[in-house]
């Protein structure tokens, strides 16, 4: 690996933050509310805790196989043949994640601003931009993701502005939903927190001590969880519990009512900034996918895989048209993504540890 391709652990932090914050932030409060009612924000905090387990697993895997991406060490853990099959499956999973990001992005954009513009155009514009972005090295990607991070503050302030008109009492009584429902709500929360799995490829490029890498990822996940929690809680005290059931994008809807002296439609500004975050999470997933394709097809550079990844994802993403189709796709892919991104690394780590033990045992006898 070329030395100019590496990133620092500080950059790793921003990469993870940017991949985690994405499409989900707008509708997260709504999906959480469907199960855990006004205690949705607690589900989210719990989900943040669960994710830490997956993060530990991912980090440990990457520590066992330094400077290698998941596609490099998969064959080493499960054997060459099975490794290729699992790699292929993992690439399919990544494709599906990219597709679902594009689908959700399109459904929101076409619902809120571009009513007339054809689906494929909206999707292709984003996909091709991302393809262009991933034709460079990991370092340049990380720099770009770091560059746009200050925009997070803008999102934060917009949401914080809602506190000019909130009803704090709507959040009470806390814990009314019961522990069981809160727990079941955290599965939905987990899906929206996905994105930390891009660490499986980005850690390989990160320089520095192993501990600082873990710290970077954990802090990133903590920041994102807290940010999401803040957003969710704000919408829960802005909307009445009865009302939130009919508002699928509470964050945007909330901002629609605010106007400043020179800005009349805050939601449109928010939406344009949000698109940047969709782009960044798509960039890291595209990069991840392209790396997988490169490994599978034994290409010299992931650059040559990028356009195909982008165009295939865009074409598939423009298939579902109606709202119900979108819901179905995002639900199915959400669940499969949860298994592949959050559970699979833990599973893989267990196998790797058992293997290593056996090898050690074999050597000592």
């Amino acid at each position: 690996m070329n030395s100019s391709h590496t990133i620092t652990h500080r950059q790793l932090f921003f990469v993870i933050v940017q991949s985690q914050i994405g499409v989900g932030v707008l509708s997260l409060p709504y999906t959480l509310f469907a199960k855990a009612k006004t205690d949705g924000w607690i589900s989210l905090l719990l989900a943040g805790l669960f994710i830490q387990v997956s993060i530990l697993a991912i980090w440990k895997l990457c520590e066992l196989y330094p400077k290698q991406t998941i596609f490099d060490f998969m064959p080493k853990i499960v054997g060459t043949k099975l490794g290729v099959v699992l790699n292929a499956l993992f690439v399919v999973h990544l494709f599906s994640v990219c597709v679902v990001i594009l689908i959700l992005y399109n459904s929101i954009v076409s619902k809120w601003i571009f009513f007339q513009t054809p689906r494929l155009v909206v999707i292709l514009i984003l996909a091709l931009t991302c393809v262009y972005c991933i034709t460079c090295t990991a370092r340049e990607i990380a720099r770009f993701l770091m560059l746009v991070s200050p925009l997070l503050l803008v999102l934060f302030f917009f949401v914080a502005y809602a506190y000019s008109d909130v009803h704090l009492l709507y959040a009470f009584p806390v814990g009314a939903a019961g522990i069981k429902t809160i727990l079941s709500g955290s599965t939905d929360a987990l899906i929206s927190l996905l994105g930390f799995d891009t660490a499986l490829v980005f850690i390989a490029y990160t320089q520095g001590k192993s501990n600082s890498k873990l710290k970077a990822i954990s802090y990133a996940s903590l920041c994102v969880t807290l940010f999401y929690c803040f957003v969710t809680f704000t919408t829960y005290i802005f909307f009445n519990p009865v009302e939130i059931e009919i508002v699928p994008e509470p964050v945007l809807y909330m901002l629609k009512a605010f106007s400043f002296k020179i800005l009349e439609r805050t939601d449109l500004i928010f939406l344009s900034i949000w698109i940047v975050f969709v782009t960044t999470s798509l960039i890291s997933y595209f990069f991840f996918t392209a790396k997988g394709v490169q490994k599978l097809l034994k290409l010299n550079h992931h650059k040559s895989a990028a356009p195909y990844v982008g165009i295939i994802c865009a074409l598939i993403a423009s298939i579902p048209g109606s709202k119900l189709d979108v819901q179905l796709w995002s639900k199915l892919i959400g669940m499969s993504a949860l298994c592949c991104s959050a559970l699979f690394p833990i599973f893989l780590l267990l196998i790797a540890i058992i293997r290593k033990r056996k090898e050690k045992g074999a050597v000592s006898t």
Binding site: K111, W112, I113, F114, F115, Q116, T117, P118, V121, D165, H167, L169, Y170, F172, P173, A176, F238, F239, N240, V242, E243, K256, A257, F258, S259, E264
Partner: protein, 375 residues
Amino acid sequence: MRRVKLISLFSSLLLLTGCWDQTQLNETKLVRAAGFDYLKNGKIRNTASIPQSVNMDAGTGQVNNQIFYAVGNTTRQSRIKLDQKVSEKVDASKNLIVILGEKAARKDIYHILDVFYRDPKSALNARIAVAKGSASDVLSGRFEETETSIGIGTYLNESIRSAEDASIVPVENIQTICPVMFDPGQDFGIPYLVPEKNAVSVNGVAVFHGYRMVGTIHGAQGVLYTLLTGKQKNRSMSITKKISNKHKDKILNYVSIRVKKNKRTFNVNVSPDDKISAHIKLTMNVVITEYPRDNLTSKKKIKKIEQALSKSLTKDANNVLKKLQGMNSDAFGVGRKLIAFHNPTWKKLDWNKEYPNIDYTASIKVKVIGHGIIE
């Protein structure tokens, strides 16, 4: 080669605007005020004010208020019919104010407002008000101020805004009433407009219960209503109060104050035998703006005025609460407090039946912190 690249790059910028989602200003007519009334046959009449500026020679434009009507079974249908009557496309995304006729307000207002909440382009920050009589009368009236400079939408919007600044009415828009409308434990109030000969006066607060208007609170009581919401903490609101009967010269019995700061504490208690009591306590810092008897030198005198004011305002506030209970409108959210802090009690009750009978009181404490530039 480099030049070709650059030129093609820059020319592609022109394509960035796209060509699907355009709304051109010269092809739209902007609705600035919309009114809704129920007709006798149950249909909805939509009144829209579309101001058109008429250019005069010196650049001073005069506004020509165009009013259009359309009748339909639903709000959206009436809007579509309106569109057929107007030469260009009607666009309500810059709407300033929605006026509901009193008859319409006394039915379910959500049925009318649904299109506003559903349409991604609608102006959710438009103000909303109830008009005495019908909304079309207010919108189509020829008022002195609208004749000269501004459209009716701007005129109504500004007059409500100044009423908000003076705390005659609470600050609300289409979106802010929505969560409260849905809330089983709280109700809301919006400005109540009365058309007069050559002006529209913001006369008080139209009080709602659930989705329906149930009554009004007029004049000075409106100020107390707004004070009791505890929301407008630092607005300047003026009240003139009679504090004694001693003087023959009637004007000397009065004092005018401006509230500088208003702090509310709101307690809801449930006794062991499930009796609900609620108490609102206001602590106001006021400035005396009119007191013709003068002589505000001694501390004793000021204390006396404070006491007299506190007493008479407390009485008024309790009257407002009585009135609200009589109308069964829980405008300050006693029910919400019960949901949040006494949830088991709340689940047992039928709030609509319980609310008029709870022990609901208010007390106001006035503190004079200034008296203008003379004593």
